[in-house]
């Protein structure tokens, strides 16, 4: 047979050409060549200076990450396609992976991509989530890693600390590089804090091949309808209740392990637009992530408004703090005194009108709250003045006379901006009556 004469059926030929030859051809052509291609591109690449060498603890954390198969479900590369850049941040570049042996790119996503994880969540959040993911996300299917803790999320052992230290490095190199290059900026947002302004340009994400971008900035506001609140209620139960509590009392299952504690939402009569803003940016310096950008969140503008409207309704669950049971009666003179005292004690941080823009505000993490937009009830202001807020720059002012404390509390109530939310929502045809009813129910609950 001809084929035989050619040798293609001879053992030596098969072993040398098919066995060794083609294997080596592939290894050289599609193994070594891309490899040298990458090396060549990275040679003298200034960006690689931003890639940190891991500390021994972080390296141990990486080993634990590998040992427990984290890389099976959590990929570590952001593709320039689909929802990747919007969900997980800037598209991955080859230089970011310098010093990685082996790579942890992964071929699977059961949980979110972790390339930019450290920009989404602080360590205390990671600890709670690692201890039992269902304390944060009730539907999560991630395993609980109890053995990395000595009994509670507040007490990580060496394994837990190492793993979280490693997670804290993910995304840092790219962040530094982008800050140095100016494509990422630190911007102070009033009442929110210093946020990283992500690589959007004119509302458009700067990623090649990605055109169908959701315009979060310019997203139209949706009306405050019953269906919006129902959607908000669903999302609140899924995403918020684990920290802020089902009634918004700030006592979710995860709350006690977070510093600062999650905000007691029902103590405030929020402006919806402010809730939207917090959901959009998150609160730097706390465990509150951005619900637009955090890998596991990714709510749409519509969802953010829905949650905002639902959070407004939580005030009906408001309780009276134990320390504020016997208030001093509110008088015009007292409010005036409060104004003067607020200017003395509070304005340096919270700003003259309580908008979270005092002279010290930009230096503080977390930043002072915007009292005008959050509109807390006087009793809870009094409570906070007494106790301060652990994990923030807000100290206890219990040394001030009781009268002054009540005076400031009443004054803070007057800082509230007029709620236009109800008007704009009512402008939607056919919704007026329902909104009015809800508002009445709300106010009666408050009284």
């Amino acid at each position: 047979m001809d084929a035989h004469k050619l040798g293609i059926e001879r053992a030596v030929f098969i072993m040398l050409v098919a066995g060794i030859g083609f294997f080596l051809l592939a290894f050289i052509g599609l193994g070594l060549t891309p490899w040298f291609n990458i090396n060549h591109e990275l040679k003298g690449h200034k960006k690689t200076q931003h890639v940190p060498l891991l500390t021994p603890l972080q390296l141990k954390g990486r080993q634990i990450y590998i040992a427990n198969g984290c890389y099976y479900c959590h990929s570590q590369f952001v593709r320039p396609v689909a929802d990747d850049p919007l969900r997980f941040g800037a598209v991955s570049k080859a230089w970011e992976y310098k010093h990685q042996y082996p790579n942890l790119l992964s071929t699977r996503r059961k949980g979110p991509d972790l390339t930019r994880e450290s920009l989404d969540h602080p360590a205390d959040w990671e600890y709670v989530h690692l201890y039992d993911p269902r304390m944060i996300a009730p539907w999560s299917i991630m395993p609980a890693y109890h053995w990395m803790f000595d009994g509670s999320p507040g007490k990580p052992n060496k394994q837990g600390r190492a793993l979280v230290a490693y997670l804290g490095t993910l995304g840092q190199a790219r962040k530094r590089e982008m800050l140095a290059k100016g494509t990422l900026k630190k911007v102070f947002v009033q009442g929110i804090g210093t946020v990283l302004h992500y690589p959007y340009k004119g509302g458009r994400l700067m990623s090649p091949g990605y055109d169908h971008v959701v315009y979060f900035h310019k997203a139209p506001r949706i009306a405050d309808t019953r269906s919006a609140r129902a959607r908000g209620k669903h999302l609140y139960a899924m995403d918020c209740a684990s920290c802020h509590g089902a009634t918004g009392n700030g006592r979710g299952v995860a709350a006690q392990y977070l510093t600062p504690r999650p905000v007691r939402l029902n103590a405030f009569r929020f402006r919806a637009s402010f809730v939207y803003k917090v959901l959009y940016y998150g609160r730097p310096g706390s465990a509150m992530p951005s619900w637009v950008r955090a890998a596991d969140a990714f709510l749409t503008p519509r969802d953010l408004w829905s949650v905002a409207y639902y959070v407004q309704t939580l005030h009906r669950h408001a309780t009276v703090p134990p320390t504020a049971h016997a208030p001093i009666a509110k008088t015009a003179a007292l409010v005036k005194l409060g104004g003067a005292q607020f200017a003395t004690n509070c304005a340096t941080c919270h700003g003259p009108k309580g908008e979270g823009n005092g002279v010290l505000a930009t230096a503080l993490t977390p930043a002072p709250v915007d009292l005008a937009m959050m509109n807390p009830s006087a009793r809870w202001v009094y409570h906070t003045i007494n106790h301060g807020r652990t994990g923030t720059a807000m100290p206890s002012f219990s040394t001030l006379p009781r009268k002054v404390r009540w005076a400031i509390s009443y004054f803070v109530e007057t800082l509230a901006k007029k709620p236009k939310d109800i008007q704009s929502a009512a402008a939607a045809p056919g919704k007026t009556v329902r909104i009015a009813r809800l508002t009445a129910a709300q106010s009666s609950a408050h009284n």
């Binding site: 083609f22 599609l30 060549t33 891309p34 291609n37 689909a82 539907w139």
Partner: protein, 468 residues
């Protein structure tokens, strides 16, 4: 292969080491059931009940998943491939195994290594290279096994007087070389030599070489050997066999980068991987055309011949998985299905559908001839249909789940929405897995019952019928 040669292959009972082959088959079936129970099933249950057995580090999802995948490749497949090699090679070369002692040593040594690998993975010692998770000391020790196999394997061919190499021999020869080279490449390069993205480049090659140059060649060798033997008729076309083999040898090593599409790997390499992946159509269709032409007029045999049915069932899955593969390796498909359960469905169809079914064909053909007793017919029927229906159910379930997952992500739904939506599919997948497992447990029972049946081996009607 001429008709007369086919007869001789059936007859060559005196050349083989029946006990060695039986031992490897038994070990392989043990690993098969172990990897489903101790790996796949527990892992699948944890999708629905994440706290199930959750407080024991050794039994968490991440560690058991390694046990599942590693035992598939290196426990079940390599063991059954060794059995097949020991069954086929002496007949093809007409010489006995050079050193049965070495082969027996290798049996104990290799399976000890696999068991140790399971233990190490559960203890959290992991190399971190996808599909190469055994810690390095096991990887190095396993090279002894490859050397032992290579010695026995090539000694057979060197001492053989046979001038013509049969198709299966081409595949097996390449397998021995590819498996060794791939083992060295995967264990060494991504974890120690290639940094960062280059590590993913080589890791990608390794992942696909494991499927394409380890599982596929040996499964194809089995098809080319056992199909003519079962049908007592030569393969339809020798030229097609040649084309199938050489296109596999050329294209398969070049496709691995398709595991990391849209990663920072240079785009030109991804385009080449896309092209070569698409060329696999040619390879697979050539082989399968050859197979189905050989089957022409004999499809009725499937009704009685359980071994043939497993084998042909495997080729049907091969046809499907390799129609799916080149198409889903197109860059346009990737934004939607990459990272999703679709790929899990695909890889299960390759290894569980194609590889395992073909290997089951070998087991069901060889076992009666090795033990001299006929398999229990009712158990055979039940095991085949449970496994077949269970597999089909699992694959379809995972494809639907994968598409849903992809669309949920692509339409910008919150992450948790996709998890909640997929819960029923994961439960259904677990049930399909139980069905497949039941089928394979029945296979194991069938093998045990057959081996223990007290019938004189020499004048058993089954053997006489088989040798006719």
């Amino acid at each position: 292969m001429k008709r007369s040669e086919t007869q001789e292959l059936v007859a060559g009972e005196s050349l083989i080491e029946p006990r060695l082959i039986k031992a490897h088959i038994a070990a392989a079936v043990f690993w098969l059931i172990y990897l489903i129970v101790g790996g796949g099933l527990l892992v699948a249950i944890k999708f629905t009940w994440p706290n199930f057995l959750g407080n024991i580090p050794e039994l968490t999802w991440g560690r058991l998943r390694f046990v599942h995948t590693q035992t598939v490749a290196y426990g079940w497949f390599v063991d059954i491939f060794l059995a097949a090699i020991y069954y086929m090679v002496p007949r093809l070369t007409r010489v006995k195994l050079a050193s049965p002692t070495l082969a027996w040593f290798n049996f104990y040594f290799y399976n000890t290594m696999v068991a140790m690998g399971v233990f190490q993975l559960m203890e959290g010692h992991n190399l971190g290279v996808v599909w190469m998770e055994y810690p390095s000391f096991i990887n190095i020790l396993m090279l002894i096994s490859y050397a032992a196999l290579a010695y026995n394997f090539f000694a057979s061919y060197l001492r053989s007087q046979e001038r013509n190499l049969y198709v299966s021999s081409w595949y097996m020869m390449s397998f021995v070389i590819w498996a060794t080279l791939n083992w060295i490449m995967g264990g060494l390069v991504p974890a120690y030599i290639a940094p960062g993205i280059a590590s993913a480049v080589v890791g990608g090659l390794f992942i696909h070489d494991l499927v394409g140059l380890v599982v596929t060649p040996l499964a194809t060798a089995m098809i080319y050997y056992f199909l003519p033997v079962m049908l007592r008729r030569p393969i339809y076309s020798h030229s097609l066999s040649l084309m199938g083999f050489w296109s596999l040898a050329f294209f398969y090593p070049l496709v691995g980068i398709h595991h990391y599409y849209y990663s920072p790997i240079p785009m030109w390499a991804q385009y080449i991987a896309q092209g070569t992946s698409f060329m696999l159509f040619f390879t697979v269709y050539t082989v399968l055309y050859n197979v189905y032409k050989t089957m022409k007029g004999r499809w009725g045999d499937l009704a009685d011949n359980i071994a043939l049915r497993w084998l042909i069932g495997g080729t049907v899955f091969y046809l499907m998985v390799c129609t799916q593969g080149p198409l889903q390796a197109l860059l346009v498909e990737q934004p939607l299905i990459h990272f999703t359960d679709w790929v899990i469905g695909h890889s299960h169809m390759a290894l569980l559908g194609f590889g395992t079914f073909v290997a089951m064909g070998f087991i069901h053909y060889a076992w009666p001839r090795l033990t001299g007793n006929e398999l229990n017919k009712s158990l055979s029927e039940w095991s085949f249909w449970l496994a077949f229906v269970g597999c089909a159910w699992m694959f379809i379930d995972l494809w639907i789940a994968g598409l849903l997952e992809g669309y949920y992500w692509g339409y910008g739904k919150p992450w948790m929405d996709s998890i909640v939506r997929l819960q029923p599919y994961w439960l259904s997948r677990t049930l399909s897995g139980v069905m497949v497992l039941t089928g394979f447990i029945l296979v194991a029972i069938n093998l045990i019952v057959t081996a223990r049946a007290k019938q004189p081996a020499t004048d058993s009607p089954a053997v006489l019928a088989g040798a006719r």
